[in-house]
């Protein structure tokens, strides 16, 4: 009896499926499908939303270790690029400096110039000397003038086999015979310990204007002629004194001196 009931049930289900298939093919099943879809769709969406979140979380955990490796790799690349950038920037500055010196050399073909690097300063704050990395082995001799493309730096006072000491024109014991380019007024530049220099013994009647270029005059034979020293920054004169006091701003920034040129073959008469 039970077996007959089962066969009957199966037959009914089979007929039902056949009818549904026929109805679906003819389009009569559409309203039922719509109803079922309306009920099931939100449920389906909810399940999809939850599983999607879980899926993202699982994927994130999987990606975490590879992301960490990628971050480390990128950080390494950034570090390398930063170092490279610094190196290239330094090379750019050095190139600009060397171009300036080359232009100076081309503009002054009569001078035999030797490039040197500043490797030290005087330990005393009261004195103004630098040490360069060229010496007697390179042909450096005491008394040789030292310049940069911007202007006069000083003079070699001591020469050793591989280095030399240079007194800067800002030192109090330094003096340079100079002239004002426009008026040709002569005087003596004396170091005052800082960037400004004092030009003494300029006669009262001489025309001196702020901004005038000051050059070496070549008098005394200590320095070649027409090397730029600086520009007039201030003029102090009164009718009582015999001479004017002319303050000159040096063309060279002595605090940032890194490379200089030694004028070889110039024999100081000192």
């Amino acid at each position: 009896m039970l077996r007959n009931r089962s066969i009957g049930l199966a037959a009914i289900v089979l007929v039902g499926v056949l009818v549904a298939t026929l109805l679906h093919a003819t389009g009569y099943f559409q309203p039922i499908e719509n109803l079922v879809s309306t009920v099931l769709a939100p449920l389906q969406y909810s399940f999809h939303w939850i599983s999607a979140r879980i899926g993202v979380g699982v994927q994130t955990l999987r990606d975490l270790s590879s992301l960490q490796a990628r971050v480390l790799e990128l950080e390494g690349t950034i570090d390398r690029l930063m170092i490279e950038n610094v190196r290239l920037r330094e090379a750019e500055i050095e190139l600009a400096d060397l171009r300036q010196q080359l232009n100076f050399k081309r503009a002054n073909p009569t001078y035999d110039l030797l490039a040197a690097e500043v490797i030290g300063r005087d330990p005393s704050n009261l004195l103004h000397y630098i040490v360069i990395d060229r010496g007697t082995q390179d042909g450096i001799v005491v008394g040789m003038p030292v310049v940069t493309a911007r202007g006069l730096v000083g003079r070699v006072t001591s020469a050793y086999p591989q280095s030399a000491r240079v007194i800067l024109i800002t030192d109090l014991s330094s003096s340079v015979n100079a002239l004002i380019q426009s008026s040709r007024a002569t005087g003596l530049i004396q170091g005052q310990g800082r960037q400004k220099l004092l030009m003494r013994y300029v006669e009262q009647g001489e025309q001196v204007e702020i901004g005038d270029i000051v050059l070496t005059s070549g008098l005394g034979g200590n320095f070649p002629k027409r090397l730029v020293i600086g520009q007039v920054a201030e003029v102090k004169s009164n009718n009582v004194d015999m001479f004017q006091e002319v303050w000159v701003e040096s063309a060279v920034d002595f605090d940032r001196l890194e490379m200089v040129l030694v004028v070889l073959g110039f024999a100081s008469t000192d």
Binding site: S124, L126, Q192
Partner: protein, 160 residues
């Protein structure tokens, strides 16, 4: 000791210029020998001042001996002025630095004058001495603390 003094001399003539203020750098050698002169006996400070001074004189364009004599005077003055002050006082290094810097720079200017070099007292005072007083005072503290540790360690070894 010689290696330390040579190292300090190299720092003072090369690296320290990157930390200059108005073209003036801290007097690292002065600060070092003053610290040692205060922590140890006077003759220890004197020895360091003389040796450190000779090294700086060899690197300087100034008259030979000017640095060593000036350093010796500075250490002596700092020691004499602080003999009754506790070495644990927090103001001791700064006070010693101010006095030592003044004695050092004035001595050096006098020696330059005696050696026949032109000297500008106003430039020396306003461009060098005053900035050095300001720079050396904070510089002495890390040196003081470092030298105190060295002093304590070497004293223990000596007694042991």
């Amino acid at each position: 000791m010689l290696v330390l003094l040579l190292g300090v001399a190299m720092l003072q003539t090369t690296t320290l210029r990157w930390f200059s203020v108005g073209g003036v750098v801290p007097d690292l050698m002065l600060v070092l020998v003053v610290c040692w002169g205060l922590l140890r006996e006077w003759r220890d400070g004197l020895t360091w001042a003389l040796l450190g001074g000779v090294i700086l004189d060899l690197l300087s364009g100034g008259p030979f001996g000017a640095t060593s004599l000036s350093l010796t005077g500075a250490v002596t003055a700092a020691r004499a002025a602080t003999v009754s002050i506790s070495r644990d006082s927090i103001w001791l290094p700064a006070g010693a630095s101010l006095l030592a810097t003044a004695v050092y720079d004035v001595s050096y200017l006098l020696l330059l004058r005696v050696s026949g070099r032109p000297v500008s007292w106003s430039a020396g005072l306003f461009q060098v001495l005053i900035p050095c007083l300001v720079l050396n005072a904070p510089t002495i503290y890390p040196v003081w603390w470092a030298m105190r540790r060295v002093h304590r360690r070497t004293i223990v070894e000596k007694m042991g």
